[in-house]
């Protein structure tokens, strides 16, 4: 990434933080009062964003799977970047879901009085497991360079790097070998933990009875595929931006194409089975997605821009890195619509006939449109994530081109 683009992105992130701080201020002072969602549509834009970042965090999962399950050792070189991306995504994810809580100051209750019959508790457990795994992994992958940076007199802020390296002053081949083993162990551990994490997030919705689309065994699988698709697309795009490794990008492009086709097939199955079953609430929900007030987010944003164009690019120009990167960028940029179309329509139908005719209040309606406060808070979190990522790529050895870094990358 050249300096100008970097500066522009930093500027955008700072501007986003400044603009979003108004919404954040309102959220922190007035709680959930300024938001547009209510009791019948209790989850809105922030839960959609949570799921969006959940998916993006799966990039490293794809990379690790390709390296260890399919034996594609070439993908080892992006392990550090993908692990760092996971950390940033998890940061955004936790901010979104914490701010969505009505009493976020009681989040410690997950530790004091957990209920293991709730999948939300398991989400909390697996989220923290992922956070710990990827924090340690990023640290171990970067420690060699951190130590080198400490000893580099030309580098500023060496005392901070010394602190980050946990006081280590020398880093020899035996230390590399030891940490390489640990990283390999963490990578292998991240496979079942990641699968459980993404699957649990799907099961979180799937177990809810009387929910027309969510309540299906397909949902956890769809979640895993959606996560791998959006996360893999993000890692591919970042690889194009920061590493310019043509062969790697082409390999990732092929994987993304496979996942995209599988994901679209599962989605088509969801619609086919739903319409064929003909249950009123299922048909109503599917109609809301396809022909409701947000029809364009399904047909134009998701299917046309986020699926068809990437599909054409990935099939017709698989050896053109720029085309692959564009395809991946479009998938990532439009994936929020997939999450939005998953969360809202299932909530936007009344659970009992007649409920819509009684007790009128904006909080007791099913027509939900995210308001300015929700967008500003979202802008703040996304900007914070972007800023942290950009500064990380500049000030931390997450992109170190040194050969040693690559060698002990996984």
């Amino acid at each position: 990434m050249n300096g100008t683009i970097f500066k522009v992105l930093i500027g955008l992130a700072v501007a986003g933080l400044l603009a979003g701080s108004w919404g954040m201020g309102e959220r922190l002072i007035y709680g959930l009062n300024p938001v547009a969602f209510g009791s019948y549509v209790p989850w809105g834009l922030w839960v959609s964003f949570y799921l969006f970042f959940l998916g993006l965090s799966a990039g490293a999962f794809l990379v690790t799977t390709m390296t260890y399950v399919f034996g594609m050792k070439r993908f080892e070189v992006i392990a550090r970047l993908s692990a760092f991306t996971v950390l940033i995504c998890l940061l955004c994810e936790v901010l979104f879901i914490t701010l969505d809580l009505g009493r976020m100051e009681r989040i410690y209750r997950f530790l004091l009085t957990p209920s293991f019959s709730s999948l939300m508790t398991w989400m909390f457990v697996f989220f923290n497991a992922m956070l710990v795994i990827y924090a340690i992994k990023t640290f171990l992958l970067a420690r060699g360079d951190l130590v080198r940076w400490v000893g580099d007199p030309a580098r500023r802020g060496r005392s901070i790097y010394r602190l980050l390296a946990l006081g280590l002053t020398s880093y020899d081949a035996s230390a590399w070998a030891r940490e390489k083993r640990m990283v390999r162990l963490l990578s292998i551990l991240s496979l079942p933990v990641g699968l459980l994490f993404y699957g649990t997030n799907g099961a979180f919705f799937a177990i809810l009875m009387n929910r027309p689309i969510w309540n299906s065994a397909l949902t956890p699988l769809l979640f895993i595929m959606a996560a791998i698709l959006s996360g893999g697309a993000l890692v591919t795009f970042l690889t194009f931006l920061f590493m310019h490794d043509e062969e790697l990008i082409h390999g990732l492009g092929r994987a993304i194409l496979f996942v995209l086709v599988t994901f679209l097939f599962l989605q088509a199955m969801q619609f086919f089975v739903g319409y064929q079953t003909g249950l009123a609430m299922t048909v109503t929900t599917l109609n809301l997605i396809a022909f409701g007030p947000y029809w364009y987010s399904f047909w134009i944003v998701h299917l046309l821009i986020g699926s068809l164009i990437p599909l054409i690019l990935l099939t017709t120009r698989p050896h053109d890195s720029r085309a692959v990167a564009w395809a991946c960028f479009l998938i990532v940029a439009t994936f929020l619509s997939v999450r939005f179309n998953f969360v809202i329509p299932d909530l936007a139908i009344y659970k009992l006939d007649g409920l819509e005719e009684t007790f009128f209040h904006p909080r007791l309606r099913t027509n939900y449109v995210p308001n300015l406060n929700e967008w500003l808070v979202s802008l703040w979190i996304v900007s914070l994530g972007l800023l942290a990522f950009l500064l990380g790529t500049r000030w931390l050895p997450v992109l170190s081109p040194e050969k040693e870094g690559s060698e002990h990358a996984i």
């Binding site: 976020m104 009085t113 957990p114 709730s118 809810l208 659970k351 009992l352 006939d353 005719e357 007791l364």
Partner: protein, 250 residues
């Protein structure tokens, strides 16, 4: 033609049932509510009584009365269905709570520990009856033009009547401002605070059509016990297996 006037108001009988239940060992009591939809006239008195009793803010409702219009003009009928919390014996809402803030008490009433609830609203989504609402810190006086109060200050003067919290769950909650139950999930609790002092739930005493019955279904002498054997008895969404303890007489 002879009129068979009731010997006593059913409220008197239910009051007697309640007094008898109070002498029992608490875990032996199983509270149930029965609603005779044929007698419901759709006056919404129960909804208002509930709002008043529990000092519910705007957007929070424990017992709405569902209205449905059937047929085409001029052959039109209206059907009313009061819908409190079903207090299911197999409740989907308690299982999903990540911090054990909601659970069933010994008498089978599904309750919420406000001081523990984190406000994730998973229970709202899980309830198949839409019986839970979230408190979004709404005020009836929101946006009302204010005049400076001479003695007590403008804020207290304008919002004073709705700043006092309800005595839900028999507790003295802090003045309504930023603390719980703001941000929490809220729901019908069969007016446990009233039952504790020998009073029937607000929706029962306020029902002008005497369509709502309440009592201990474990007591063979109670009114609800006798009504449960009616062939008209049914429950909402029986197929889900939630086993509500709120029954309807069709």
């Amino acid at each position: 033609m002879a009129w068979n006037l009731p010997v006593e108001d059913q409220l008197v009988r239910m009051q007697r049932d309640l007094a008898r239940a109070q002498k029992k060992n608490p875990p032996d009591i199983k509270w149930s509510m029965i609603i005779d939809v044929a007698k419901c006239i759709g006056c919404h008195a129960c909804t208002i009584a509930c709002v008043s009793e529990n000092k519910l803010p705007p957007g929070v409702v424990y017992r709405p009365v569902l209205e449905e219009e059937i047929g085409h003009y001029p052959h039109v009928r209206r059907r009313f269905l009061p819908r409190p919390c079903m207090h299911c014996q197999n409740p989907p809402c308690t299982k999903v709570c990540p911090v054990t803030a909601t659970y069933k008490n010994a008498q089978g009433v599904t309750i919420i520990r406000y001081e523990r609830c984190i406000g994730c609203r998973y229970c709202l989504v899980a309830c198949p009856y839409g019986a839970r609402t979230s408190d979004f810190a709404e005020w009836y006086t929101k946006g009302t033009p204010e005049l400076p109060g001479r003695l007590v200050g403008r804020k207290t003067a304008s919002e004073g009547y709705e700043s006092d919290p309800a005595a839900e769950y028999g507790k003295k909650w802090p003045k309504r401002g930023g603390g719980s139950p703001i941000g929490n999930a809220r729901k019908c609790h069969f007016c446990l605070h009233r039952l504790a002092v020998g009073m029937l739930p607000a929706c029962v005493t306020s029902c002008v059509g005497r369509a709502t019955f309440f009592g201990d279904r474990n007591d063979p002498d109670s009114l609800v016990f006798s009504l449960l054997s009616s062939p008209r008895i049914h429950r909402l969404k029986e197929e889900l297996g939630t086993q509500p303890t709120v029954y309807y007489l069709a």
